[in-house]
């Protein structure tokens, strides 16, 4: 049974290759605002929403630290726990910046996840169609768009 769902189908192949090669247990591809584009491994919508919100918050706060240090941006953030590690990394695409959150276990390593993230970001950039410009999310549309995305991500 596939555990991956994507709002945009062109993301599926690169994401599938990434989770297999990097040994990721969970993966989220989203915008820096926390809009989810694709997910792998999550079974509940509430977990996706929480992970996306927290990931977006971390990206925003580290972005502010980068500004304080006169850095353009931090590209990769890695945290390691006893049983799990997370990689949170951003990259630019023709549709604007995207953020990947990957959770991996002891059977993988930060080096492997980072290595295959570089390939993943390249594959997403190559697969990303340029037609649709990144759109501003209005508060009025937010809930509807969120529900539509979650329906697509869980095929409800």
């Amino acid at each position: 049974m596939t555990r991956m769902y994507a709002v945009d189908p062109w993301v599926e192949k690169p994401l599938e290759a990434f989770v297999v090669e990097a040994g990721a247990r969970l993966a989220l591809l989203m915008t820096p605002a926390g809009q989810v584009i694709a997910q792998y491994g999550f079974t509940r919508a509430v977990d996706v929403m929480a992970a996306a919100a927290l990931g977006a918050a971390i990206v925003a706060s580290t972005g502010e630290i980068a500004k304080l240090l006169d850095e353009p941006t931090f590209s990769v953030l890695n945290h390691q726990g006893k049983r799990h590690g997370i990689l949170l990394a951003g990259f630019d695409t023709p549709r604007g910046r995207m953020v990947c959150l990957a959770v991996y276990g002891p059977d993988s390593t930060p080096g492997l996840v980072q290595l295959f993230f570089e390939e993943f970001s390249r594959d997403v950039r190559d697969a990303c169609p340029e037609t649709e410009a990144p759109k501003q999310v209005l508060a009025a549309d937010f809930e509807r768009e969120l529900n539509e995305s979650l329906s697509a991500l869980f095929r409800t």
Binding site: T109, Q114, L115
Partner: protein, 116 residues
């Protein structure tokens, strides 16, 4: 790169036929220090070497022959040699197929002692 690691890696790369050497954190697959010729993808080699040596150690433990000390991978265009330092790092060398493996191994063992 700190002078300490530079000296350790220079001793390995001075051996004729060695294309690069690095010290890698075993559990992470990340580079501590490297000295590589152009064209060698250090990050990829470090990440994948860490992964391969983990599997190799599993095989050795399952075989009842103890922990991994030295790994020699021969390919069509070169060799990859790995020595575990006994702490948390690996010393890795990438070399031409014609390299004197014994000499590189000796330098890797010396490097592992120095890194430990």
């Amino acid at each position: 790169m700190s002078d300490r690691f530079k000296g350790i890696l220079d001793a390995i790369t001075r051996v004729r036929g060695v294309r690069g050497a690095m010290i890698v954190v075993w559990q992470d697959g990340l580079i501590v220090s490297d000295s590589l010729m152009e064209g060698v993808r250090g990050n990829a080699v470090a990440a994948l070497t860490s992964s391969v040596t983990k599997y190799a150690e599993s095989v050795m433990l399952a075989s009842g022959i103890g922990r991994l000390q030295f790994l020699h991978l021969q390919a069509s265009n070169g060799v990859l040699l790995v020595v575990a330092t006994g702490s948390e790092t690996l010393v890795v060398a990438i070399a031409e197929p014609s390299v004197n493996v014994g000499l590189v191994r000796l330098e890797l063992i010396r490097a592992a002692e120095a890194v430990k």
